[in-house]
Symmetry: C2
Subunit: 345 residues, 2 copies
Amino acid sequence: MATIKDVAKAAGVSVATVSRVLNTSENVRPDTVEAVQRAIEELDYHPNFLGRTLRRLETMKILVIVPTISNQFYSRVIRGIQSVAHQNGYHVMLAITESGLDSEQEYVQMAQRKLVDGIIFLHSTLEPERINELADSCPVVCANEYIPHTKLSVVSIDNVQAGYDATSFLLENGHRSIAFVSASSLYSSSALRRDGYLKAMAEWGISAEESWFLNEGLTFKAGRRAADRLLQMENLPDAVFAASDSAAIGLISALSGHGIQAGKDISIMGFDNNQIAEYYIPALTTVSQPQMEIGQKAMELLINKIQNPSCEPQRVTLPHRLEIRASVRLAPSRPAREKERKIHP
Amino acid sequence: MATIKDVAKAAGVSVATVSRVLNTSENVRPDTVEAVQRAIEELDYHPNFLGRTLRRLETMKILVIVPTISNQFYSRVIRGIQSVAHQNGYHVMLAITESGLDSEQEYVQMAQRKLVDGIIFLHSTLEPERINELADSCPVVCANEYIPHTKLSVVSIDNVQAGYDATSFLLENGHRSIAFVSASSLYSSSALRRDGYLKAMAEWGISAEESWFLNEGLTFKAGRRAADRLLQMENLPDAVFAASDSAAIGLISALSGHGIQAGKDISIMGFDNNQIAEYYIPALTTVSQPQMEIGQKAMELLINKIQNPSCEPQRVTLPHRLEIRASVRLAPSRPAREKERKIHP
DNA sequence: TTGAAAGCGCTAACAG
DNA sequence: CTGTTAGCGCTTTCAA
């Protein structure tokens, strides 16, 4: 491996000059530049960025902590992050915490060890104090989930409003008994959507029954479990609002195995508008989130924080949208043209 | 930021001793260890790994080049990679090349610049020569796709056999006119599955018609496009073999919009056994790949290559399996118990 | 416009 | 068992 020294020697200049050429800096005579470049070419030299990194004490890497990438919601947020990262010369490292294989704690150390310049949490199970500690020594932002008792920047939709809109839509279309499938309150988003759900129900004067809350989780399997519980009830609810498309699909699939058709015998509302929602049979009515934008904005905030560590944390709310398809039975009177209503925060 | 020097000073020892303690090395008196640890505690010292990295000239990072992470196939392979990486102290960086946003070339430079210790390609659009060049200066392995004219280790299923098995299954169940949806030959896996398809068709004395080859791609949208073409044919084929579950689902969804039911009016075979396959309606008959294992094995090969650069490239073939569900109509005579036949390479 | 030299933070011989 | 010392490869003052 040729080093900068070898190039300097070959070009008959000092390492400082080579360094200048590498960084396309000015103040080098054109013929010197050329000589250096020839030497680089001849030696097939590639600068070792570790040296630069150590010297500059910046890695140009950021860490994204994500529960799973099997869910399209996260993969789209990550794409958003990656696009902005790339535009700004950053590289993205992923910490997938699912299954506890990689302890979050362990990854957080990477920041303290200066292996990354910042962290984006797409979800966290760490205690707020630990996060605050971390945030004191390293730029951190949250996307999608809000971590209580911390003063971090966070970008997400208005989950309360989204839960409210989804539930209202069900109510407006004549559904009254509405079950709610979500993750436990480990996810702030789930808890907030539930608040929205409760608010809408209250407005219509309906008090939700205890049995309607199915905290089975957000996965396909969770949906299936929720279906099992639904099937054991005396009265099947009119509708189910699931806090993820995967859960909604698990639900529909399991119910269909018992001859219950979504969109006909029962209405199912999903959340996220994953690509499959459009292709599922029946196509899923769901709440669409601007996933790419969430990622992009989060990365922008992080870069801002890296460049200007003393800046104030921000709370960015992006718009969601109801995506009306076939899995929710509409009231006969409902006009068809109201296909996509955009709700701004 | 406290450095190793500060700790040394505070503990009244040399930096070498601190370094020894950090690396849990032997040969340090217990009370010295304790003194150092106290100093570390007091100063809230976190070692800066960049120093170590530069010194050891190894980053303990590997790069995974992947076309997309929105497809569950890739996310599972990545999980496999990550699990083995983690066990061995490596961290994973992702290069998502989809949409040409991140040029592959650019990422490959990271290896040359010593920012990563090795690369796993899940797919590549680089010319074979460039890959070979790269492989000369950096450990590289391929997973899933085979890159022709290169001498890299690669781990995948036997795609010819898988294509053959899937097609044979359709043939055995009475289907004769079978369309084939796949990506263009940019993906070696697609080309190989096609070979298997042709082999099976030939064995049954059926010559595939030109119009049966629908090289629309592997995405949901590709499946939809394939459906459009199917619908324009004079005679709808008996069955379609799609080289991905997403394409199969796009297909089924689009056909269903025209009143054609998969599993009844037409048979659809998918590929990959994504989680959705089980939850789709109708559930997808598909070829299951051991995605996690592919990733794990690839990472093992890479680590081996890193530790022993002169080792010979290997070709690892993992078993696939037919997953029989509802989207393929079975011949009446077919015994039900042959539910899962495992085919070893 | 260029070079010499001092590190970035850490590790690893080599002495003692 | 511990300290001294010489770098890893690069950038960046400071002089010349």
